[in-house]
């Protein structure tokens, strides 16, 4: 049997409210909050990036796994905000965890799907018997252009998973992938902010791939939405994952535990993976979890997890995702946010 041996998340403590962004751009905060189902988002301070978020999430995952960094056979990080244009994030993370030098390391990119890609590949290598333990991380500190709708959601966070064969906290039952070439969201080289195709990012992009992957996965597993205690979908805002769940026949209750976007924002590669950590924090042995990611460009990875007995022993070993999301928050104003996100042009 293969699956998750340990998991962990990390979220910066700083938040900015939708109202604070809307007032700068003369936008109507209530309609943004209603339309996107977002109240606030996490903000990374200047000393936090995808690498630091990854290290902290991975440290929690290793503690829950009871595994030492030196035992990792692979370190994979999926992100669209790797701090270097050329030089892996994974080498820094592997070095910080003590996983070097006998380790395979790669950075993944596929817009918001990069994290689940890392999970998919690490799980595959464990299944194939190439490695005993593989670390897969999805994390981002994404940016939306000032005043763009994306600015209200683009946030920061990471989730890490140790894949292995023994002492599982959740077994992998099925996985699949579904992708086409769909130009809904992109960023050209040397551009600071991404572009998106407006309404085209909805039906032909997010919903087509999320529901396409989900239906194929249900069919592969011979399962129905009612067979799962929890579901979690990519969450570019609060509205899309709720609608996808409804379209597929999942209930609001199944979707609520991993639905973090309203107060976290869109953590891109971290989105459905962090949602999964929030579910694992409260799930019971035997519970089944249905997960589908989404990355623009476009594609979705699907996973069906079945929680194991050991899960109950590790849930409270380190800070839970809800604790990281809800406690000890620092709210920043737009000026501080602009400074933190290097949006202030210094002409001197």
């Amino acid at each position: 049997m293969e699956g998750i041996v340990g998991y962990g998340a990390h979220i910066p403590r700083h938040r900015i409210k939708v109202e604070e962004i809307a007032k700068v751009w003369g936008a109507d905060a209530p309609s943004y909050k209603r339309g996107l189902q977002l109240r606030e988002k996490s903000v990374p301070p200047p000393d936090v990036d995808t690498i630091t978020l990854s290290v902290e999430a991975a440290k929690r995952a290793l503690k829950r796994a009871g595994v030492d960094g030196a035992q990792l056979g692979a370190v994979y990080i999926g992100s669209e905000s790797h701090p270097y244009a050329v030089k892996p994030s994974g080498t820094v993370v592997a070095e910080a965890l003590g996983a070097v030098p006998d380790c395979h390391c790669a950075d993944y990119e596929f817009a918001c799907k990069a994290g689940s890609e890392a999970m998919f590949v690490a799980m595959g290598l464990v299944k194939a018997g190439y490695i005993d333990y593989g670390l897969a991380i999805g994390g981002d500190t994404s940016q939306g252009a000032p005043s763009d709708a994306l600015e209200y959601s683009a946030s920061a966070g990471a989730a890490a998973f140790i894949m292995g064969r023994e002492n599982l906290v959740a077994e992998i039952e099925y996985s699949n992938s579904y992708m086409t070439d769909t130009p809904d969201f992109w960023r050209r080289e040397h551009e600071f902010y991404p572009q998106h195709a407006g309404r085209y990012t909805g039906e032909p992009a997010y919903f087509k791939h999320v529901t396409g992957a989900a239906k194929a996965l249900l069919k592969k597993a011979g399962a129905e939405p009612g067979d799962f205690q929890y579901c979690v979908f990519h969450q570019p805002n609060g509205k899309f994952p709720m609608r996808a769940a409804k379209m597929l026949g999942f209930t609001k209750e199944q979707n609520l535990t991993g639905w973090l976007a309203p107060t976290l924002g869109n953590t891109y590669s971290g989105a459905s993976p962090i949602g999964l950590t929030a579910i694992l924090d409260v799930a019971k042995p035997g519970d089944r979890i249905f997960m589908v990611s989404y990355g623009s460009g476009s594609g979705s990875d699907g996973f069906i997890w079945k929680c194991a007995d050991r899960l109950a022993e590790v849930q409270n070993l380190v800070a839970t995702t809800r604790t990281l999301l809800d406690e000890r928050l620092t709210y920043v104003d737009y000026g501080t946010y602009a400074k933190y996100r290097r949006k202030i042009l210094k002409n001197y």
Partner: protein, 130 residues
């Protein structure tokens, strides 16, 4: 920061690696070759705990140029259970909440960036326990 020097410091800056004297047990960060307490030359490599106590702190208002944008910030000396003390920024905390003797934890952060073209330097900072 010069890449070669930065890389040499990775073991303690990245993962709190220390040298523990095999003869008298004294712990050193960064690692060293001769124990200044007993003169022994054999050491065990250990990793320090990530929970610390704040021994003392100060608020920096006039920092070195590479930390200018972070001013003002708290700089603390913390003691590890292994007996070692290290100096680093204390972040994610209101200055009014800083108390000597308080528990903090170690977090991996970006320490400095070498202009627009140079390497990014990472290491430890202290944050409130969560």
């Amino acid at each position: 920061m010069f890449p070669a020097r930065y890389a040499r410091e990775m073991p303690h800056r990245y993962r709190l690696e220390a040298h523990k004297c095999k003869q008298c047990g004294k712990v050193f960060v960064p690692r060293r070759e001769i124990c200044d307490k007993c003169g022994a030359t054999e050491f065990e490599v250990i990793r320090l705990s990530d929970r610390v106590k704040l021994v003392t702190y100060t608020i920096i208002h006039t920092p070195a140029s590479q930390f200018k944008d972070q001013s003002p910030y708290a700089l603390g000396i913390c003691e590890f259970p292994e007996g070692v003390r290290l100096t680093a920024q204390v972040v994610d905390i209101d200055f009014a909440d800083l108390k000597t003797g308080m528990d903090l934890q170690v977090e991996f952060r970006r320490i400095q960036t070498d202009g627009h073209e140079g390497i990014l330097s990472y290491g430890y900072k202290f944050v409130p326990v969560i």
